[in-house]
């Protein structure tokens, strides 16, 4: 029998279609050659590798599941694999693609007018227009129904007032998808960069997701024509449906972090000689390595079945809640443990686990905190909302 692949113990790749394998392999090759060499420096300097945007777009990574408008029309399992490969490099890189694809292009595609789609989707797919998604507010992200940002009718126009916080790509975006209270419930608006009354400010001193821009958005009587409102949806289900798309990708992404961490510690513990034997020869180390492999495997199987359900049009949001919770927690625990096994080397950016570990602190918070996902699963099981 052949030696098992420690990073794919159950040969889950054998369950992928020829197209899905090709997607994974081609993105993996790009990530290794183009993104991995840059990322430690980007994290260190707290900058997103903007120089990669043209390539990311050319590869077809932006809005890859959408049909038409210059998009590839891939299935969701492929999108999951893309997220996994990008996040194997860095959560910030995957966040960029998630936000553009799932949080910005998706709502325009699903809820936008044909005019909005024609205007924005091809530009966004080509990476010439960058989007951001403004839902969270300073008062509290876990309870979006309680948002304060509001839009009021003023003749044929709308006047937008309020603030958003923790917005990925906020200051670099050409177009912000902003969710606001209206007389008719929560609605989405397309706010363009240079509109009067719209300003952004970056959040500095982040210890996490440093290779990604995070900003605050302020709206002071921003005048919007009705044509910038997303006509297709009203109520919280608008933004929540976007989050379900993005959370689907986040259920896959951290598997990449965990695989990268396990890969690092397998090499390190094999080469490191302490007490006259490789570190890997200790029971205490092997148990930790085995546990990593166990948790990665369960996460891979969970993600794959989630993908199959979504591609069959049968996925329910509770299934995403559980997968996002499990898989991010799995990766965060593995990253922390891998960091420890690397000893002193583990605290430098020369090794990847500490970067993944710090990034995953954001990933476990954004797109619904771990607690919020647990409560969503609890509500499904009991029928009682305990938020």
């Amino acid at each position: 029998m052949a030696k098992l692949n420690p990073l794919d113990l159950y040969d889950i790749r054998s369950q992928l279609s020829e197209d899905e394998l090709m997607v994974q392999d081609s993105i993996a090759a790009w990530v290794d050659e183009r993104a991995v060499p840059l990322i430690a420096e980007c994290f260190d300097k707290a900058r997103f590798p903007t120089e990669l945007i043209p390539e990311i777009a050319e590869l077809g990574l932006l809005g890859s599941t959408l049909e038409g408008y210059g998009c590839a029309g891939l299935n969701y399992t492929s999108y999951g694999l893309i997220c996994q490969e990008l996040e194997r490099c860095d959560s910030g890189l995957r966040s960029f693609v998630s936000v553009q694809s799932s949080l910005c292009m998706y709502p325009i595609y699903a809820f936008g007018s044909e005019e909005q789609k024609q205007r924005w989707l091809p530009e966004m797919a080509a990476g010439r227009a960058i989007g951001c998604f403004g839902l969270t507010e300073p008062q509290g992200g876990s309870d979006p129904a309680n948002m304060k940002t509001h839009a009021k009718r003023d003749g044929d126009d709308w006047l937008l007032n309020g603030a958003k916080m923790w917005i990925t790509n906020g200051s670099v975006a050409d177009i912000a998808i902003v969710w606001a209270q209206t007389e008719d419930g929560i609605q989405g608006f397309l706010v363009e960069k240079d509109m009067a009354g719209f300003v952004t400010q970056d959040i500095h001193s982040k210890m996490s997701l440093r290779a990604s821009t995070t900003s605050e958005l302020y709206f002071d009587n921003v005048r919007l024509p009705d044509s910038s409102r997303l006509p297709g949806v009203k109520g919280l289900k608008g933004p929540l449906s976007c989050l379900t798309q993005a959370r689907f990708g986040i259920s896959w992404g951290p598997i990449g972090c965990a695989i990268d961490c396990l890969d690092s510690v397998l090499k390190y513990t094999e080469d490191r000689i302490l007490f006259d034997r490789p570190l890997a020869a200790n029971q205490a180390i092997q148990i930790r390595l085995a546990d990593m492999a166990r948790r990665i495997t369960t996460a891979q199987l969970l993600a794959l079945q989630l993908g199959r359900l979504k591609d069959a049009g049968k996925m329910q949001h509770t299934q995403v809640n559980l997968a996002k919770w499990n898989n991010v927690r799995m990766a965060l625990d593995i990253a922390r443990d891998a960091r420890d096994m690397l000893g002193g080397f583990g605290i430098t950016t020369e090794y990847t686990p500490i970067r993944h570990m710090l990034n995953l602190e954001s990933v476990i918070t954004y797109e619904g905190t771990e607690t919020i996902h647990q409560l969503a699963v609890g509500r499904e099981l009991t029928g009682i909302s305990a938020f």
Partner: protein, 248 residues
């Protein structure tokens, strides 16, 4: 002008291969498989010639069982126009592979055939040369630069002494070296487009090519483990060490 490009399915260069315990071969079970890297370079060169308006069609060919269709599809996603799989379970050796390609060449009549200089599985480095001889056409091996003008190709070759530039009449066989180009990444929309491109399957038996696999392999063994190096603290000590081993 049509360009025919050979594509071989091989164990990915990143995979650490293992010899089967009984020495009967290399364990490829479950290993990640890829296009032979030199063949990827060959395809890239052909695509560039098509993009420059010199070639009109790029055809990728692979000899093997249906699993090699995966590499052909990747070739189509990179940009080849169509693909041919010569279907056989037999692991053909270079001479039989060259004969098989010749049979396809006779129907396709390409103006240029580009192959990798070798495949990273067996490292034979023979098929291109044998094909040129059987076809009775010129060969330009180990190419690091290719310029096609009219009926000739000017090819810079990487040879032991450095670089050598030769001119060959077309049709000809070119085999690629590592520095010829950097292959492009596959783009996601092209993966979807590749599904609609033609992939023709020809049974090996239909080509009436003799399968004279004339090399018999008795045993596979992993390379001997390299001995650990030693540190010497001066040039004199180095010379003494080398002398004691009869290396100086």
């Amino acid at each position: 002008m049509k360009i025919l490009v050979g594509i071989k399915r091989v164990v990915d260069f990143n995979v650490r291969v293992r010899v089967k315990p009984d020495g009967s071969g290399v364990d490829t079970d479950g290993a990640k498989m890829s296009i032979n890297p030199f063949d990827e370079i060959a395809l890239e060169e052909a695509l560039r010639l098509r993009e420059a308006g010199i070639a009109s069609e790029v055809i990728v060919i692979s000899i093997g069982d249906s699993s090699c269709q995966q590499q052909l599809r990747t070739g189509l996603a990179m940009g080849a126009d169509r693909a041919i799989q010569v279907d056989t379970d037999i692991h053909l050796q270079p001479l039989a592979a060259a004969r098989t390609m010749l049979a396809v060449i006779e129907t396709e009549q390409p103006g240029l055939v580009i192959l990798g200089k070798q495949a990273i599985d067996d490292d034979n480095n023979q098929t291109g040369q044998m094909l040129a001889a059987l076809w009775n056409r010129p060969q330009a091996t180990f190419a690091s630069k290719v310029v096609v003008a009219g009926d000739t190709a000017t090819v810079t070759r990487e040879v032991d002494a450095g670089l050598e530039t030769i001119e060959v009449d077309l049709p000809a066989v070119i085999t690629t070296d590592l520095r010829l180009n950097t292959p492009r990444f596959v783009k996601l929309p092209d993966i979807m487009k590749a599904k609609r491109k033609p992939l023709e399957v020809i049974a090996f038996t239909e080509l009436a090519v003799s399968n004279d696999n004339n090399i018999q392999i008795d045993h596979y063994a992993p390379p001997a483990v390299r001995e650990k190096g030693i540190m010497v603290d001066s040039a004199a000590a180095l010379v003494t060490e080398l002398k004691s081993r009869g290396l100086l």
